[in-house]
């Protein structure tokens, strides 16, 4: 199984604030890979760097062997790499249907778009019912469904998902994760899933990384990560102290 997406020593900053301090990870074709980390660890920054929203200061992002770091976001979408952003980011005053059409902005094949529209309505029947409604009027869960559906309309081979469970009830979270799993299994879409909710993420992920203060501090298969003592304590039991110990976690808290 080849790697579709590879990050090598990626460093990204916001002005003087260095958010990523050399992140390397590999996403194999057809798999679900998760990146776990507390608030502020650099998860969103990692995904923004991959999507071309910010250019890394150092390091490479390789998509299917080609370096894409620093490319314009629309070229990256056209290449087949789409993100479901943190906090859904729907177009609030556009109808659900127009939001979906914007997901297909980079495409020219009207027939394919119509097929994919039917496909996402199959995954999320509620979106068909609400097709004419403004996206801003949907509930949080429905907006998350819309954000996922909108990304699928680009017909991506890789989807980046930034905390899809954020702010959702456990029941809705489970629903969303079931669909993420189905999209991966039924459509062969590779998924890079970023989460604070390690419990759900490790259930669906083939492989996982743990990100702390801009660095990968641990990696293993999803099943084995779920077994590890410190992951269980810190991410699954939500006790204090990071994988690298108490001090770092305290410092992180201060930064927020």
């Amino acid at each position: 199984m080849g790697a579709v997406l590879e990050l090598a020593n990626v460093e990204s900053s916001y002005g003087p604030v260095q958010a990523l301090r050399g992140v390397s990870l590999t996403v194999p074709e057809g798999k679900i890979v998760t990146v776990l980390g507390a608030n502020g660890a650099g998860k969103t920054t990692t995904l923004k760097t991959i999507s071309g929203i910010i250019a890394p200061r150092k390091g490479q992002v390789k998509f299917r062997g080609e370096e894409i770091q620093g490319r314009a976001p629309d070229r990256i979408v056209r290449a087949g790499l789409v993100q479901v952003p943190e906090g859904r980011e729907v177009f609030p005053l556009l109808s659900v249907e127009d939001n979906l059409r914007m997901g297909a902005y980079t495409r020219r094949d009207a027939d394919g778009v119509a097929q994919d529209l039917a496909m996402v309505f199959g995954y999320f029947p509620i979106l068909r019912e609400r097709a004419r409604q403004e996206a801003g009027q949907l509930s949080g869960g429905q907006q998350q469904m819309l954000a996922i559906a909108r990304a699928l309309l680009a017909r991506p081979s890789v989807v980046l998902m930034d905390e899809p469970s954020l702010g959702l009830s456990p029941k809705l979270t489970k629903e969303i994760f079931d669909i993420i799993l189905r999209i991966n299994r039924e459509r062969g879409v590779t998924i890079l899933l970023v989460e604070q909710n390690a419990h759900m993420a490790l259930k669906v992920a083939d492989y996982g990384y743990v990100l702390e203060v801009g660095r990968i501090v641990m990696e293993d298969t999803g099943a084995r990560l779920a077994e590890k003592e410190d992951i269980r304590e810190f991410y699954l039991g939500m006790k204090s102290g990071g994988v690298r110990g108490e001090r770092r976690w305290k410092r992180k808290k201060l930064w927020r």
């Binding site: 999507s51 929203i53 976001p73 952003p85 980011e89 177009f91 609030p92 556009l94 909108r150």
Partner: protein, 293 residues
């Protein structure tokens, strides 16, 4: 009495149409880039001069004149975005606004230097002549009816464009959530450039429509001082609001100019804006959903 009111109404709506078109330009650019383009009035003026050139020097028919002015201004609008505005992206709003004011000065300066344009006033020939239509007791100029009809046609075309065309929906999407637009692979910069082109084209159309009502001259861009409150009145950031706001200001001016003492005409627009903002601080069509950048 009724006939006279109808007459004032038509005159006001015709003038208001031009305010509306300039206000529309303000709003389109503001929604997309959060920048108030204070050169909007001067872009209208420049468009009118291009129309004038096509009509008088090239001798083109009216319709060709309109298309020419819109096209040239659309290109200039896109060029301004690309060359002047894009490099200052991310600078404080104040800086960007000062730059648009500067663009206005430069346009006015250039126009006065162009041979044949200069500082004189020019009349733009129109095919509408001096015909009048009598409705009840009112005598209404065909020119005014034409201005209203053409504005209505443009607004309808814009409505269809924003509602159904992929690019039009993408312009709305980019205005509502720029970050999400990037994530969807919408080329945000190019879309913003086209919005500048669209605003400049709409301004040119307004400039040509203003020509039967007023003369073409290098200071006609100061009409922006009326169009700006029109945009505020409608709820800055609302497209229907810009149009309604423009019409209201045109109508108020028309009636104030007739019924009130000299000088009240220009103040009346601002009085109405203040009164409306006291009741509805976000304007008539003020949006409640806050924008994400």
């Amino acid at each position: 009495m009724l006939g006279q009111s109808l007459q004032l109404l038509f005159a006001g709506v015709a003038q208001g149409c031009v305010y509306a078109l300039v206000a529309l330009g303000f709003v389109l650019i503001y929604k997309a880039t959060e920048t108030v383009n204070f050169a909007q009035g001067d872009m209208m003026m420049l468009g009118a001069f291009f129309g004038l050139t096509a009509a008088t020097i090239l001798g083109w028919p009216y319709w060709a004149t309109i298309l020419f002015a819109i096209t040239v201004m659309a290109v200039i609008g896109m060029g301004l975005e690309r060359v002047v505005l894009r490099p200052v992206l991310g600078y404080p709003t104040f800086t960007v606004v000062m730059i648009t004011i500067g663009i206005g000065y430069v346009i006015r300066g250039i126009v006065t230097m162009v041979p044949g344009w200069g500082t004189e006033t020019h009349a733009l020939p129109t095919p509408f002549g001096n015909g009048v239509v009598r409705i009840g007791g009112a005598v209404i100029a065909v020119e005014q009816i034409a201005v209203i009809g053409m504005t209505a046609a443009l607004v309808a075309a814009l409505f269809l464009f924003f509602r159904f065309a992929k690019l039009g929906v993408a312009m709305q999407a980019t205005s509502q959530n720029q970050l999400a637009a990037y994530y969807m692979g919408i080329p945000v910069q190019r879309v913003n450039m086209m919005i500048w082109g669209l605003s400049a084209g709409v301004a040119a159309f307004g400039g040509i429509l203003l020509a039967p009502v007023a003369f073409v001259h290098s200071n006609m861009g100061f009409i922006g001082l009326k169009a700006f409150p029109a945009a505020v009145l409608g709820g800055f950031g609302s497209v229907p609001g810009a149009i309604v706001g423009g019409l209201i200001i045109g109508i108020v001016e028309s009636f104030a100019g007739f019924h009130l003492a000299e000088g009240f005409k220009d103040v009346a627009a601002y009085v109405v804006v203040l009164a409306v903002l006291l009741v509805r601080p976000s304007g008539i069509f003020g949006e409640t959903v806050s924008k994400k950048v």
